[in-house]
Amino acid sequence: MSFWTFSTDILLLPVLKGTLVTLQLILLSVLPQFLIGNIIAAGRVYGSRSLSFACRLFVGFFRGTPLLIQLFILYYGLPSIGIYLEPMTAAVIGFSLCGGAYMSEYIRGAIQSIRQGQMQAALSLGMSRIKAIVYITFPQTLRRALPGCSNEVVYLIKYSSLAFMVTCLELTGEGKIIASRYFRYTQVFIVVGAVYLILVTIATRLLALLEKKLEIPGLEVSRH
């Protein structure tokens, strides 16, 4: 079978199916990642000594161990203590926790980069601490942390491929199955790889647009 017939007859459908699952994984994980990132960062900056320490441990664990091990623990390990997760659930939880830990570092840096004086000015206007955090600190934190968090989203697109290792059939998984069945590894993975490259390129463009949209003169976002 030639390259093209193989691609259209056999490869196309699984690749589309797999891409859909991959997109699902990504979209389900992005918001929880960001939420967890904010909660952990807030816990570290505004929380008590013990809360701050707990958050540090959280970040230390999820940044110090491979994502794959975290997924294995969630999917293969938890059943031994009675928790049975679906492959996709385990993957999404793993991505959210791990990505959240990374995002929390960017967000924490952003929070700490905002001068103390702004909080004081907000308080002196009569805002409560919470209001000040929501209306003054957060809008600025968001912009400062955006490059780092955008980075994380791009990583998420790539690392979603690991969901296959816990039996979630996303793009990589579908590809591997077809490839091993027909012994056409190079061809299959060139196509699959192309899809990832397209996804990553589109995402990078979109996120750059988002950054531009939120840009405020004087509120420099530092690129790492």
Partner: protein, 250 residues
Amino acid sequence: MSETKILKVEDIHKRFGDNEILKGITFEMAKGETKVIIGSSGAGKSSLLRCINQLTPPDRGRVWLDGEEVTHHKKSISGFRQRMGMVFQEFNLFDHLTALGNVMIGLTRVKGLHKAEARKRALHELERVGLADRADLYPAQLSGGQKQRTSIARALAMDPDLILFDEPTSALDPELIGEVLEVIKKLADGGMTMLIVTHEIGFARSVADEIIFLEAGTILEQGPPEELFLRPKYARTRKFLHKITELYGD
């Protein structure tokens, strides 16, 4: 006393580490008065202001705003702060909001006004300080003097009973100081109660009803400008006034 004092400060003590910065400050302010606090750096002037609006709660002592006690009332401190405006040396404008946004946010998020109303009021305040045409610029696009005038407008928008000024011109380039002092003078003429910490001696003389000289954590002398300048009671006062007039001019 027939009138309640707007601000009453009694026996304020504040210590930072081993250093006792404020050693028992007591004074009062009547409505419409402008008092200026002067003193050498580190004498505790800024700390005093922050003890008054509880940004840094004092270790000892009490503060009353228009008869109601402010100290030791953690829950209602936001309410009190709404009635005490503060203008900072480093402006502390909110970088993510335009000048208009900065003035509006207290009205919308603290006082709960509708956006349209808040906008109208905010523009009015910006006009008062001469910045109506800069309303849509961000802090990074404003000069130092414009930033400070915006922060004054922000404080004014809250309809405060009094405004605390913490060295409002110290961070400004010399040619920008004048525009800010002008605004403050206008406010004084308009009857606003103001407590100002500053080095601008000439300005202090012209705008103050009373000058307080803070030295080593206590009030060494206080009195109307002419009295303090022409007949200071203490040699230290005279020395300080002399030095500062030399440095900062008249």
